[in-house]
């Protein structure tokens, strides 16, 4: 490009540029003030529609936030609370955390069944389910109200027996949200072990089968599940959770039978010994 001689005369110095910018800025400032002072008067109906629309958008955002809170944040809160409860239980627990030697006799006679806790929300045990992960250990709490299930994990139906008792030891747990303690309940395979630890010892239950029922089927909690008139002779464990995973139209029930037990003084079963020791370290 060839510059015309006139171009040089039109060139602007730095000082003039700065001064010009200042002038433009001042003009912009004053014009902005003017517009904010003299905003065009908006009709009442238009304002009404605008406010209504903004409120609707706000409602939508709050609902989305609620979903985020329910599906994500409740898990973080509940996992923290449950971790603390398990650590506290392990601190109070009296007994070795090393498994008994392989050659010791494994028959410890009739299991000790602890007395039912008097206060709801008492953490009286820990449940280990290796199928749900090697480190899976969740507190066992008295009661199945929201106060218990929403923070402390697996709640015991207070109409059921205690761990190790003849009859049905029944617990409920969330499938999703609030720690999602029984999220993987559908992955249990017959023969899977479920270990329940109380201050008295370790109760080993073996998963037998599951069943999907409607939410009103309270008979799954009977001493012999679903059999109203039967006299219990065996030690059942029943876990109830939501089904499908993100809904609650049905309940997924997992039945187990007690296989063995060992007192706290004998130490934990070998399969969970590592996790029991890890919990007692805090």
């Amino acid at each position: 490009m060839v510059h015309s001689p006139g171009h040089v005369e039109k060139a602007v110095g730095v000082d003039e540029l700065i001064a010009g910018n200042e002038r433009v800025r001042a003009r912009r400032r004053s014009s902005r003030r003017k517009t904010s002072a003299q905003r065009p008067k908006q009709g009442f109906f238009r304002t009404l529609v605008q406010v209504f629309g903004e409120l609707l958008i706000t409602c939508g955002v709050i609902l989305l936030l609620f979903v985020v809170w329910e599906l994500w944040w409740t898990n973080i809160e509940a996992n923290t609370a449950q971790q603390a409860a398990v650590s506290q239980f392990a601190k109070d627990f009296q007994g070795p955390v090393t498994p008994p030697a392989a050659d010791t006799p494994s028959d410890y006679g009739q299991p000790i069944v602890m007395a039912e806790p008097t206060d709801p929300s008492t953490v009286f045990g820990v449940v280990y389910i290796p199928r749900f992960g090697a480190s899976y250990s969740r507190p066992l709490v008295e009661g199945v109200q929201q106060a218990q299930l929403d923070t402390l994990g697996l709640g015991r139906y207070d109409s059921s027996t205690m761990p190790g008792g003849i009859g049905n030891f029944a617990v409920a747990g969330h499938r999703q949200t609030h720690g999602a303690v029984l999220d993987a309940i559908h992955t249990l395979v017959p023969g899977d072990k479920i270990y329940v630890q109380t201050k008295d010892g370790y109760y080993t239950y073996v998963f037998r089968n599951n069943q999907i029922v409607m939410p009103n089927r309270g008979d799954v909690l009977l001493p012999v599940p679903t059999q109203a008139d039967a006299t219990p002779t065996e030690r059942f464990m029943t876990m109830t959770s939501c089904n499908p995973r993100f809904g609650a139209e049905e309940r997924l029930i997992a039945y187990s039978l007690m296989e063995s037990w060992q007192p706290a003084s004998a130490g934990p079963p070998a399969a969970i010994a590592e996790q029991v020791a890890a919990n007692s370290r805090g």
């Binding site: 904010s36 605008q50 406010v51 903004e54 409120l55 709050i62 936030l65 609620f66 809170w69 329910e70 944040w73 409740t74 199945v144 109200q145 929201q146 299930l149 929403d150 709640g155 139906y157 207070d158 109409s159 409920a172 747990g173 969330h174 499938r175 999703q176 949200t177 609030h178 029984l182 029922v213 939410p215 009103n216 089927r217 309270g218 008979d219 799954v220 909690l221 109830t240 959770s241 939501c242 993100f246 809904g247 609650a248 309940r251 029930i253």
Partner: protein, 54 residues
């Protein structure tokens, strides 16, 4: 509505932006701490008990 509130916040633009962010943060925190836990009891989708929770 939000535009009106924003225009009526005191101070220069940067301060009004900060104030608005603080307002939103307080609102979200209040929802998460108090409103949602209360609302949660009416959510039937998280009920994992059977027979009305005996």
């Amino acid at each position: 509505m939000y535009g009106w509130i924003f225009r009526h916040l005191p101070g220069p633009l940067w301060l009004r932006i900060i104030t608005a962010i603080v307002f939103v943060a307080v609102a979200v925190l209040a929802l998460m701490q108090f409103v949602f836990p209360w609302l949660s009891q009416f959510n039937p989708l998280t009920d994992s008990t059977i027979g009305g929770g005996v």
